[in-house]
Subunit: 250 residues, 2 copies
């Protein structure tokens, strides 16, 4: 049950906002959730949530995605409870000593059954367009990869899917190899950037790509399903602190 | 003796100009040079010249680089002779049925000795910034590569250098491997694009990159020398018809 909480804040005058601010927003989440759940999260290899902060015209938008029922209950429900209990609806970021005032917020609840329906669609569109909304990066051989590749993207999405999926598993080395051989980045507009995390600058990229998938319908559908899942899970590293937020461009 | 002829044209009103126009300019060169030299060029694996057309503010600029003495004599000298013998200094592009009027032109003559001096400089700057001025592409395993890589760039430049160099050879598999292991693209701003060539659209990219070279001074210097050479030779495929023009950003 992927769920999305989207909070729109007014910008405070004279303040500058970057994607990196999401790491402070993450700190806020860690403060308000139950310590028991926080320590459970701490021991997981892959997080059942992702979150990021991005500019949207004159506002900033904070998006928190949870990927299973428990994360929804422990994180999103708690956030909404907190917001509704503040006299003036707001979020206080301790490390910035700044209060962000909420203009509005919305929740979208999705369903893995809906997501999995994509697998049985009769799609013929072999172009998958992705937007990397916040700085995205991959780790491979102890290096940061600041160029996307078909392999890095689908490998990451498959692992993230399997980490939260209860019934089905999608990771398969052969399928990944098929993507590598039969799909390629056909168009792109990308630039490198840095994501600041606790004083460390993480090399990353941002922008848009089109992936052409010259593969059987099954694999095209799986790619679309993984991409739609990726809109909740994010892709690549540090998706819990604001990196790797993606959108499927329709 | 790398030589550069730079011709600045007025744009004709109501006409649009793209990088792909350089393939027509190439046709013009082939018409005016001696048939004997044209057929000699035809049989070479790598051309001793490169040329491209790019917009520069309100004008278009045509740059023709020759890489050896003969190409300079047969191409650049012939072009200048032709231009000076036209009543009104111009170039007629048959396939577009368009006359381009020349505002000004200039020649820069370089020297391989000067270029090779870079090899013995005491440089410590380990960042090499390159601009891909016109659509650039590489071929590998029968595929177009529309992302640059350290390997693809230096491999191409080494082969081009060796094709025109009389005394020294620079291609070395071990050196190329060192670049691959010790240098990486640290920053970039790139987008894919298409280069139209005789009705075929060639996938390519355009933009800027910074290469960080964590290698001994010798290899840093060689990289700089190859990049400066690349400003004349171009990089990647189809540099004779307008692709792969580069500049070193100082």
């Amino acid at each position: 049950m992927p769920t999305r909480l989207k909070i729109r804040f007014k910008c405070n005058e004279g303040k500058s906002y970057s994607y990196s601010m999401a790491s402070l927003a993450h700190g806020y989440i860690m403060e308000i959730i139950e310590p028991q759940y926080a320590s459970l999260l701490h021991n997981l290899r892959l997080n059942p949530y992702s979150q990021y902060i991005a500019r949207d015209k004159d506002d900033i938008v904070w998006v928190i995605n949870t990927l299973d029922t428990r994360a929804k209950k422990e994180i999103i429900d708690k956030l909404i409870y907190n917001i509704n209990n503040e006299a003036q609806k707001s979020v206080f970021l301790k490390k910035r000593n700044e209060t962000l005032y909420i203009k509005e917020f919305s929740i979208i609840e999705s369903d893995y059954k809906e997501l999995n329906k994509i697998l049985y669609e009769n799609k013929s569109k072999k172009i998958l367009k992705l937007k990397f909304i916040t700085p995205t990066s991959f780790r491979q051989d102890n290096r940061y990869c600041i160029f996307p590749s078909v392999r890095l993207i689908f490998q990451s999405l498959m692992h993230k899917y399997d980490a939260v999926s209860v019934q089905s598993r999608v990771y398969d080395a052969q399928v990944l190899k098929s993507y590598e051989e039969q799909a390629y980045i056909e168009e792109y507009k990308l630039r490198s950037t840095l994501f600041s995390l606790e004083g460390i600058l993480i090399p990353a990229f941002i922008g848009e790509i089109s992936i052409k998938i010259n593969a059987p319908t099954q694999l095209v559908n799986l790619a679309y399903m993984l991409a739609e899942f990726g809109c909740y899970a994010g892709v690549g590293i540090k998706t819990a602190v604001g990196m790797g937020a993606i959108a499927v461009i329709k």
